[in-house]
Amino acid sequence: MIRRRVAVTGIGQTEFAKALPGTAWQLALEAVNAALADAGLEPADVDGMCRFAPPFEQVSEPMLVRALGIRELAFFAEAPLGGEALGAVIAHASAAIACGLASVVVCYRAISQSRGGRFGRADRGGPSATGPDDATPDLVVPEDDNRSFAWPYGLMSPGQLFALWATRYMAVHGLTDEDLAQALGTVAITQRGYANRNPAAMMRDRKLDWESYRAARMIATPLRLFDLCLENDGACAVVLTSAEVAASLRADPVYVLSATQSLSPYREPMGIYTDDLIELFPPAAADRLFGQAGVSRGDVDVAELYDATSFMTLKSLESYGFVPDGRGWRYLTETGIGPDSPLPVNTHGGHLSEGYLHGMNGLTEAVRQLRGTACNQVAGAEMALVGAPSGSAMILAR
């Protein structure tokens, strides 16, 4: 088990903005260098790397090894499936350190949606990037990941998929439109409040109140504009080392207690065909996450939950076992996730209001919380859960 044998020794991130001047390569370099500086290490110290696999991560290990002047990587690995790589890269890196394959492992994620590949625009950066025209040829959707059975019907973006989840959730648990709006609006507005106090957040200067939330246009029912995450440029990186190395480098290491990944049939991005569509995170994986950490739900002081949509924050509370199944919406409405709630969630503003970095900015925020340096500091925070969908998550502690 990883339990406290590995630590996050450094974190780094770029500015997050709708369009940054740098390429993803440049952004990755900036974040990695910042993380190394934060750890008190040099590029020459790096001997391991773990990244989100393509097509999501465009910056390869060779690109970074060349540009950083790293002497040699002894370990490098990639985890597939987009945001679901979040827990996996930390699990792989931690395992490599724990069994001696590498001693200083960098994990990173660089995104440049302004230069193509927007998740919310299937026609920007994809095979049909040229735009509409009478002469535009048909878009033939290749048969990979079952997209060819979905795209022709106009099911093309994660936001539309999670709209299907939210509708199903409402039907299974008997919610009215108003019940769901109350719950999801609480997520969007609370996270925006955190972002308003976070200088790094893209939405730091943009207030969101109930009137604006309700008045926002629907994107795909029942999800409104403010239920969907931002699209942006930016990069995040973390440096992992053994606990011993971490303790020699800094007074406030943040330890990895557990990190998990999971794969079951159709439980993957755009996993439309799962037996239970709305099972966001398999219960067995959640039990493994907590069991390997040797802690219980009540020990967690703060959670940074992957929020491609506000609905995922809701469902994550249930899937990780913080709230019984089917009660997440009521919990949000009655208790909430604000600074004074029992479990503050997405204290940086999340993907909805800080920026979208495939969960890596939730990880850097969790580290700041456990160091006691966060903008929206949870008093005395000792343990954090960083969660992505589909069994991918980690528990960290100081």
Binding site: G120, R121, A122, D123, S128, G131, P132, T136, P137, D138, L139, V140, V141, P142, E143, N146, S148, F149, A150, W151, P152, Y153, G154, L155, M156, S157, G159, Q160, A163, L164, W165, T167, R168, M170, A171, R217, M218, I219, A220, T221, P222, L223, P265, I272, Y273, L277
Partner: protein
């Protein structure tokens, strides 16, 4: 232009049947299991002796969304449109569209029936409408 499915060796029979007005799913004779989308072997017994079985076309709405913001220019003139997951009477679920009623009238659990809409000379998409 149209957004159309690419054929593969595995999926071509599904689309060829659809063009002929038949809705089919893969079926394993060995363990009497049906599934969708297509797989190279039966996920229950690993038999490669799989075939295609025509289904009734009857199903119920498992979930749906009314898309009001297009994410591809091809759909700019089509919003609002309904994307649904329909559970076939025979068990498997598929992604489809619902027409034949106002988008706001679609409900989870609503009984629907397949019909076929040609989108190009080669491609016909199964859609569903209330029954």
């Amino acid at each position: 232009m149209a957004i159309i499915p690419g054929y593969s060796e595995l999926t071509a029979p599904y689309w060829e049947h659809a063009r002929a007005g038949r809705l089919v799913v893969q079926h394993c004779a060995g363990c009497d299991r049906s599934w969708h989308p297509p797989l190279p072997a039966c996920p229950g017994c690993q038999s490669a002796d799989t075939g295609w079985r025509e289904v009734s076309g009857d199903g119920t709405v498992y979930s749906y969304t009314v898309v009001t913001h297009p994410t591809h220019f091809e759909f700019a003139d089509r919003v609002p449109y309904v994307v649904a997951i329909v559970e076939l009477a025979e068990g498997p679920r598929l992604v489809t569209g619902i027409t034949g009623c106002a988008p706001r009238e679609v409900r989870v659990g609503m009984p629907v029936r397949a019909y076929f809409r040609p989108v190009t000379d080669d491609i016909t998409l199964p859609y569903f409408e209330p029954r």
